[in-house]
């Protein structure tokens, strides 16, 4: 009988039963004896020098634990890349909502009033709120030039392409901040013990990021810091770096109180204070031949990093490398920079810079198509990367991909041609239909040498009852880590999926398999789990306890025998960079990613010119992500990412005033509901990749990249008016439609020769 494969099957979610019965324990569901509740006193000004702190009357302050920067035993910083972000501000504040003091009390309901009763006087310092003011040095707020990081990519001879160009096409594109809006707000519980050090439990993505931050704040060795991930109710990047701050705060209160402390952010605090997607500006100037081929171009990609450097250089890196899209550029120059402003630091959010620069290139391709007078499909087809060609970092495409075929299939699935012809003839005056395409790629794993520096380790162990346990710090945040890694181990060992479990991420129990980011879990960690599983099997075979072929029962018995006679049965695997991966960090050249996922998305929209509202009527998401490890989970990743992308394009606007988010509530920051979304139709193409576990590539971030440009291109198709900024809200459409009669409105940004 043919053996059934667990890889590629819809294995049920490992922790699914607990989730559908309400038994899963999230951080706010956990309470410790004698636990206090913590709260944070934050800056109300965007930039200033702290002059005086007054504790108001009518509050029994002696009952509160109060922590300031003076209580920090180690370094007052959140260790990440530059360590420029304080744990608690002591002399100056650089953004609104910056934490200054911490309070704890046994009674949760007394905290908000106490926070309000503390008044802080500031000597105001002049702030900067946007990219333009930051780069013009209206005020210097970081270093001596407001610049966190720059990159320069140079390929070919860009300065030589302009002479031979039939068309030179220019465009400028903007994307706004976006809130991750996980439905579970951030939260932590901390405990401190003079002998054992600090323990925190929390809602988080990256246990070892929190671990590193706590070691620095408490000046403790690694064995005296323990970080445990509780069930986590969504993250999307929003629980990558900020949880380190909350963990440090809860632990400082716990140390001073001598009791455990729980901090749970309410929705308003979570939205106003924690990270969001970096706002961006991208400028394109592209030389195009008569037949629509890209000859070369200049791309300027700039992101607003907020007040501290945090992860901005890494976000900038990914956005920069994706700025050319899935196209062949014989020559290109990309200048990228992350600048400082006095907004709360922007941070990780699914896609990590790529959705911003891909929005720009995919809008720009439609602009090129219009000027060259080719269809949006044809302009892409003529410029697609092919196997053997090089990306903008000179990485040779070794995967056997065929983007033309992907495009063709997406056009058929969306009924693109006939629908577009139909709307061209039948578009009414009040309801206009349009179709839009986005073609894109997303690199899986850390950029360049990142995976080599991480040097991740995973473990697979046998248990005394003959089961298998996967040991990783990679976290389940809804995306399916638990399930797919157990599938990989079960497949490799040839044991039932039900016999494999995964350890709760706890830094005293699991090795550092790296952070749960960058669409790396299936491809990089999955492959390591497969290697560790092979090691486990070989251990049992080489000691004679297991034959070369065996049944599940024999495997169980062999584990039990090994453990009872020899002790621990554990196999570790460490990441080794494939030999063909070369990356030059100085010149930003080489193999940026071990693999790319590829996709073509097509949106069909209706613009209602009575309400100036856009509805997405149909959405086709077709992608090549290598081997699909679990079709139900994979489809869920894509549909969920597309929904977030639709929000990014059409609904989700952060309203800023003086560097503070004004709409930090779900009532007025609008994410899509079940009534707003179209049928999201998800399709996969498997074209093969050698790198990941069973040929899997990254999938988590990819679907965030395509929806916004596909939808905006569809709106442009419907109305014939260019829109280059998202979110695209009804008021922007209203304004644009009102001025559309002016003849130069469309042609101002192009030069045809």
């Amino acid at each position: 009988m043919e053996k059934e494969h667990i890889i590629g099957s819809a294995a049920p979610r490992k922790e699914g039963r607990d989730k559908v019965t309400g038994k899963a324990r999230y951080i706010d569901d956990i309470n410790l004896p004698n636990m206090l509740y913590g709260a944070t006193v934050r800056s109300k000004v965007p930039r200033g020098r702290i002059k005086k702190i007054t504790f108001g009357p009518d509050i029994p302050w002696n009952e509160f634990i109060i922590v300031s920067a003076k209580d920090i035993p180690g370094k007052n910083c959140i260790a990440l890349i530059e360590n420029d972000q304080p744990c608690l501000a002591s002399e100056v504040v650089n953004h609104a909502e910056e934490p200054i003091l911490l309070l704890a009390h046994p009674q949760k309901h007394l905290l908000p009033k106490a926070v309000e009763a503390i008044s802080i006087e500031y000597e105001p310092l002049p702030p900067v709120f946007n990219i333009a003011d930051s780069e013009h040095l209206t005020h210097v707020i970081w270093g001596d030039d407001n610049i966190f990081k720059t990159y320069l990519i140079e390929k070919g001879e860009v300065d030589a392409v302009w002479e031979e160009a039939a068309f030179i096409v220019e465009g400028e594109y903007f994307t706004g901040a976006q809130e991750q809006l996980y439905i579970e707000t951030n939260g932590m519980i901390a405990q401190f013990d003079p002998h054992h050090g600090v323990t925190v439990w929390g809602s988080l993505q990256c246990p070892y990021y929190v671990h590193k931050a706590l070691m620095a704040v408490f000046d403790l060795p690694e064995e005296k810091v323990r970080v445990v991930q509780a069930e986590t109710g969504g993250a999307f990047g929003g629980k990558e770096e900020y949880p380190s701050i909350i963990a440090a705060h809860a632990a400082l209160l716990a140390m001073k109180a001598g009791k455990p402390v729980k901090i749970i952010y309410d929705r308003l605090e979570d939205m106003a204070a924690t990270t969001k997607r970096h706002p961006s500006r991208t400028r394109h100037r592209t030389a195009v031949s008569k037949d629509g081929k890209i000859l070369g171009g200049e791309i300027e990609f700039t992101i607003d990093g907020g007040a501290y450097l945090t992860l901005s250089p890494v976000v900038l890196s990914r956005g920069t490398i994706h700025a050319g899209g899935p196209y062949y550029w014989p020559s290109v120059r990309v200048r990228a920079k992350a600048v400082a402003t006095n907004a709360p630091p922007h941070g990780a959010f699914r896609g990590f810079g790529a959705p911003q620069s891909i929005f720009a290139i995919e809008r720009h391709m439609d602009r090129i198509a219009e000027i060259v007078k080719l269809s949006p499909a044809e302009i892409r087809r003529r410029n697609f990367l092919e196997p053997g060609e090089t990306t903008i970092t000179d990485q040779v495409v070794r995967e056997d991909i065929d983007l033309g075929k992907l495009l063709d299939r997406a056009l058929v699935l969306s009924d693109y041609d006939s629908k577009r012809q139909h709307s061209a003839k039948n578009n009414g005056t009040k309801r206009k239909k349009g179709m839009g395409i986005a073609a894109f790629l997303h690199g899986a794993g850390f950029t360049g040498s990142g995976e080599r520096y991480l040097s991740s380790v995973v473990g697979v162990e046998g248990t005394s009852n003959g089961r298998v346990r996967v040991l990783v710090s990679s976290t389940e945040i809804g995306q399916g880590t638990n399930t797919i890694l157990c599938q990989v181990a079960a497949e490799e060992l040839g044991v039932p999926y039900a016999d494999v479990e995964i350890a709760q991420p706890d830094t005293t129990e699991v090795p550092n398999s790296g952070p749960t980011v960058a669409s790396r879990t299936a491809m990089v960690v999955g492959k390591l789990v497969a290697s560790a599983a092979v090691g486990l099997k070989q251990t049992l075979i080489s000691c004679g306890m297991l034959g070369a072929s065996y049944t599940a029962e024999e495997f169980r018995m062999a584990c039990q025998e090994y453990i009872s006679t020899r002790g621990q049965l554990r196999s570790l695997a460490r990441y080794e960079q494939p030999k063909d991966v070369f990356w030059d960090d100085q010149n930003y050249r080489g193999e940026a990613y071990a693999a790319f996922a590829w996709a073509v998305y097509i949106a069909e929209v209706t613009v209602d010119l009575a309400a100036y509202a856009v509805s997405v009527d149909d959405f086709v998401a077709l992608q090549e992500v290598g081997k699909v490890l679990n079709p139900v989970l994979a489809k869920g990743q894509i549909a969920g990412g597309v929904a977030q992308g639709i929000g990014f394009a059409l609904y989700e606007k952060v309203e800023w005033r003086d560097g503070r988010m004004q709409n930090a509530q779900m009532t007025n920051y609008i994410m899509p509901t079940s009534a707003d979304l179209p049928a999201i139709r998800v399709f996969f193409e498997e074209m093969g990749n050698a790198h990941g576990a069973y040929g899997a590539k990254g999938i988590g971030e990819l679907p965030m990249d395509g929806p916004a440009p596909a939808i905006v291109n569809a709106v442009v198709d419907a109305l014939g008016i260019p829109f280059d900024s998202i979110p695209l809200l009804p008021e922007s459409i209203f304004e644009a439609v009102s001025v559309a009669h002016e003849p130069e409105a469309i042609s101002s940004s192009e030069r045809v020769r």
Binding site: R17, D28, P60, I183, E184, T232, Q665, S674
Partner: protein, 162 residues
């Protein structure tokens, strides 16, 4: 120190079929009574302003956001939370369908979402897609894009009428 003890009152509710009495401030949220007084942490808080539906429960058969209901208003009522589900055929079919169809990812919206779906299926065992969209539009999910939640509700309804 709380100074509020004298403001508290005794409230009686039937929770998941069992009579319960709690001593609480009349304006205390039903959500906190369930989670903190009764230890029923399956009901989640997402926004605290009735927008996300993570705290949805059934109160005398109606779907309510428990963060908006003061315990005073719930006095004498019958409450059903996620912890009750699984006992009867229709709700266990729903939970099973959510599990199989990928209706739960991070799981934080799932209890409220399943109660909203139960509320729909109890009235309408074979709803149309439009009816499902409408019935679940008060429950926000950030993970799934809702597609697989719709599939789960359709599947549960189908199994229920078989």
């Amino acid at each position: 120190m709380t100074g509020k003890e004298h403001d508290k009152g005794t409230f009686s509710l039937t929770v998941n079929g069992e009579p319960k009495t709690v001593l609480a401030h009349p304006m205390e949220r039903l959500l906190d009574v369930l989670r903190e007084h009764l230890g029923l942490t399956g009901t989640k808080e997402g926004c605290g302003e009735g927008e996300c539906g993570a705290c949805a429960v059934l109160m005398d058969g109606a779907l309510v956001d428990s963060c908006l209901v003061p315990v005073l208003q719930a006095n004498g009522s019958s409450i059903v939370t996620i912890e009750k589900l699984g006992g009867d055929r229709s709700s266990s079919a729903l939970q099973q369908a959510f599990l199989e169809c990928g209706g739960a990812q991070c799981g934080i919206c799932t209890p409220g979402m399943i109660l909203a779906a139960k509320h729909l299926l109890d009235r309408k065992p074979t709803p149309t897609l439009e009816e499902i969209r409408e019935a679940l539009s008060g429950n926000l999910c950030r993970c799934t894009g809702y597609t697989q939640i719709f599939e789960a509700v359709v599947e549960a309804g189908r199994r229920q009428v078989l």
